[in-house]
């Protein structure tokens, strides 16, 4: 992906398997969110292509969602003036086909679909722990709940791969722990998950594998332990080579402070 003369993301290749959580880390401006935007079709890659589940994805957000890739946003982008349930129901949009005609005559298909959509959406709200907020306006929810609702909305599209862009940004430790549990719960459904996060403790706890992006390139990909101990990662974050483990810890704290 190129913006004018700036190469924002350059030859990033990776694989996520079913039931696996992949972490995407990197210093600010490394191209993590740009990478997400390329994947989901919000940006049209200047070069290269996205292959998902054996098929090339067109750079159209809607097609990407239908293919089974859903995302959340770094800065929450809920439909604030809709209720929590309605937000999830919008997520169900691409999995239903109720047309205008049956909607106008309130035909059997309309009633069937509407009932199924409502039930499934409520189920998802319960799943992320927002069952009690069905009729609350999204904009009235607490920050943590809004993050959960975004996940529920993304789950509404029946994804195979879930992309989470900083799901714990701005959360307190307790909310972070709850988010972690939720992500594990989603993985146990058999979904593949990619998480962007600055909170290193969170990411190394959560992920099966971690990929570190620096200046749009893959620096390293491996298990949390491998990435954690790689000196280049620390250099990328802090800028100087680490002398010993003490500095590694300082780096970790730095990571949390960033988050």
């Amino acid at each position: 992906m190129r913006f004018g003369g700036l190469v924002a993301v350059n030859s990033v290749d990776f694989q996520v398997n079913k039931g696996e959580i992949m972490g995407l880390i990197g210093p600010n401006g490394a191209g993590k969110t740009t990478f997400f935007n390329c994947l989901t079709g919000l940006y049209i890659p200047t070069e290269g292509r996205v292959v998902f589940d054996g098929a090339v994805l067109p750079p159209k957000p809607r097609k990407v969602v239908i293919a089974g890739m859903a995302r959340t946003f770094q800065n929450i982008r809920l439909f604030g003036n809709m209720t929590a349930l309605e937000n999830v129901m919008v997520g169900r949009y691409c999995r239903t086909t109720t047309g205008p005609f049956t909607s106008i005559i309130r035909g059997p298909k309309f009633r069937r679909d509407e009932k199924a959509t409502t039930e499934r959406s409520q189920e998802l709200l319960d799943f992320v722990g927002l069952g009690h907020t069905t009729d609350h306006l999204a904009r009235n929810l607490s920050y943590g709940d809004q993050r959960r609702l975004e996940i529920a909305r993304a789950l509404g599209t029946d994804p195979k791969l879930l992309l989470l862009d900083e799901p714990t940004a701005g959360m307190n430790p307790q909310e972070t722990r709850q988010a972690e549990e939720l992500i594990f719960k989603i993985r146990d459904l058999g979904l593949a998950i990619v998480v962007i996060e600055h909170d290193m403790r969170f990411i190394f706890n959560l992920c099966d594998r971690v990929l570190c992006l620096v200046q749009g390139r893959t620096l390293i990909e491996g298990t949390p332990a491998e990435v954690q101990s790689d000196p280049r990662v620390i250099e990328a974050y802090i800028g100087t080579g680490p002398e010993d483990a003490a500095e590694l810890e300082a780096f970790e704290e730095e990571g949390q402070a960033n988050a």
Partner: protein, 571 residues
């Protein structure tokens, strides 16, 4: 909503409350009594206010307002709140006081305008003004009570239904009465009274109760509304004057409701919408049995209506597919240009500049009346001894039309498609990223709005007899948009009210006809400043226009939890 400026501070009200009470009661009684005295010097003014002990209708209405002020204040002392249910006596009295002052002020102004000078207002009129001023001042000095909570009250269902029917009947009576007023000043004063009366009903809590009751009996309400609309021609005693206006109002309202899909639901600004009405009208005209029609085939009207709708919808698709890639102001400019292109094309299809389809600016005249199943819409009929003229016949047809338009609007709004539209309005990028077919839904909003305008146009061709390109100028698009914005984007009731006001006022009031551009422009500017969501706002739109207002969000959320729906459509 912005707060009204406070004339008397709450601290001062603490001291002046008892005095205000007596002042208010006295003012109200003086106003009521003055109705028995002559108000104007000559019988020419308003509806004849020169007799002693024989009040004219307007004087009776003044008496009602006066008695309301006094009665409400007295009730506030006599009737204590029971449980959680409160009645807003004092608040209502304040509204009545203000209403009385405006009402009497307008009457005094009208008398002096119609007869040439304040000298023509005689002692009864001055006494009424004094009473109104006292009532206004008195109620301002009082401490307001808590807002009414009558919406929580419930009575027996049968009684509630009866009440709804009574209110509908009263509305029919008021409409029939108002429309039969010929004198401009009288009409304005009557509107002022209605405004004051409705405000009082709101404040006292009756409106809250009624809206609660009508929610519990929604079907009854809709049925009653249509029965009332159906009965309206029977109140006209065979006169076609008001019925002609009524048909125009309904055509205008049906078109506005179609535009409401595009603007109110999908949030697309369309400034050339009148072209779709025109396309439908020209299609029907060309296919009609008029001697000037240019097509040789004359399908039955039902088919013509469908063709007209499809032609308009196709135009909508053609104009929409390239232009919907731009948004906001750009879309407005493109659609505005499209509206003009349509009109000029119709002028050019005259046999010289292009093929002869519309006879250019002469248009297609002499479109014959409709005949449906042997029923000739041009013939007057007599039902139960009441003669119904040509326009009454069309009025009934148009009622069916607008019922259909409203049905389409409401059901689309409360469906998967409607949810998609809301999501697009809220955050287009996020909607797209969640798999909503943004482009398709926008195009559909455009086309379905156009379809509804097309079928309205097909009926319009027969009602208006003659169709010419200059009926479809930009100004008409602007008026349609104004009706939607003034009334309340995305609502049924609001747009109906907006369309009625915008079409009715110029017909009934000479003054408004002459200055209608200025008046409507001012009205729009004021609305945008003080109430951008329109007169009768949809809850969702209200939220959108007040992103910062936490209190509003909380209140609406409570409402949603009670009723289970966030009312995007009419209330």
């Amino acid at each position: 909503m912005s707060k009204m400026p406070q004339l008397v501070t709450p601290e001062r009200q603490q001291r002046t409350d008892p005095a205000g009470r007596w002042l208010g009661i006295a003012g109200g009684l003086v106003l009521a009594a003055s109705a028995l005295l002559p108000w104007a010097y000559s019988f020419e003014a308003l509806d004849g206010m020169t007799l002693i002990a024989f009040p004219s209708p307007l004087q009776y209405l003044g008496m009602v307002l006066g008695l309301l002020v006094a009665g409400l204040i007295i009730c506030s002392r006599l009737i204590k709140p029971r449980g959680k249910i409160r009645v807003g006596w004092i608040r209502a009295a304040k509204a009545a006081g203000t209403g009385a002052l405006v009402y009497i002020g307008l009457i005094v102004l009208s008398i002096s305008l119609e007869l040439g000078g304040l000298i023509n207002v005689v002692y009864g009129g001055w006494l009424a003004l004094l009473g109104a001023v006292l009532a206004f001042a008195g109620t301002r000095l009082m401490i307001p009570d808590q807002p009414a909570t009558l919406s929580h009250a419930q009575i027996r269902p049968a009684l509630e239904i009866l009440l709804i029917a009574l209110v509908m009947g009263a509305a029919l009576f008021a409409t029939a009465f108002g429309l039969n007023i010929d004198d401009g000043g009288t009409f304005v004063c009557f509107l002022a009274f209605l405004g004051a009366f409705v405000a009082v009903l709101f404040r006292v809590g009756v409106m809250g109760f009624l809206s609660g009751a009508s929610q519990r009996h929604r079907k009854v309400l809709i049925l009653a509304a249509f029965v009332v609309a159906f009965l309206f021609p029977f109140t006209q005693g065979g006169s076609d004057a008001n019925m002609s206006i009524a048909t125009q109002v309904i055509i205008f309202a049906a078109a506005a409701m179609g535009l409401n899909i595009t603007v109110g639901l999908a949030g697309l600004l369309d400034l050339g919408y009148i072209a779709f009405l025109g396309a439908g009208a020209f299609t029907a005209a060309v296919l009609s049995r008029s001697a000037f029609a240019t097509a040789d085939i004359h399908p039955p009207f039902i088919v013509v209506v469908l063709i007209a709708g499809v032609v308009s919808a196709t135009l909508g698709l053609i104009i929409g597919s390239p232009t919907l890639r731009v948004s906001g102001d750009y879309l407005a400019i493109v659609t505005l240009a499209f509206g003009e292109i349509f009109r000029i094309t119709m002028i050019n299809l005259d046999g010289e500049a292009g093929p002869d389809i519309t006879h250019g600016s002469n248009g297609i005249p002499a479109i014959p009346d409709l005949t449906l199943l042997g029923f000739d819409f041009g013939d007057p009929h007599t039902v139960l001894g009441i003669p119904l003229g040509r326009f009454s016949n069309y009025y009934f047809l148009l009622l069916v039309l607008i019922a259909f338009v409203i049905l389409v609007f409401v059901r689309l709004n409360n469906s998967r498609i409607g949810r998609g539209w809301v999501a697009i309005r809220e955050d287009e990028k996020a909607a797209e990223a969640m798999g909503v077919n943004v482009f398709g839904l926008k195009l559909f909003a455009f086309a379905s709005g156009a379809f509804l305008a097309g079928i309205a146009g097909a009926v319009k061709a027969h009602v208006d007899i003659s169709i010419t390109p200059d009926q479809f100028v930009f100004l008409e698009s602007a008026f349609l948009l104004a009706a939607v914005v003034l009334g309340g984007m995305g609502t049924v009731l609001g747009v109906l009210v907006g369309a009625t006001l915008l079409k009715l006022l110029p017909e009934k009031l000479r003054f408004v006809t002459d200055y209608r551009l200025m008046i409507f422009a001012l009205l729009l500017i004021l609305m945008m400043r003080f109430r951008p969501e329109g007169m009768i706002p949809s809850r969702r739109r209200q939220l959108e226009f007040h992103e910062e207002d936490e209190e509003l969000a909380e209140r609406i959320e409570e409402e949603v939890e009670e009723t289970g729906v966030l009312k995007g459509a009419g209330r």
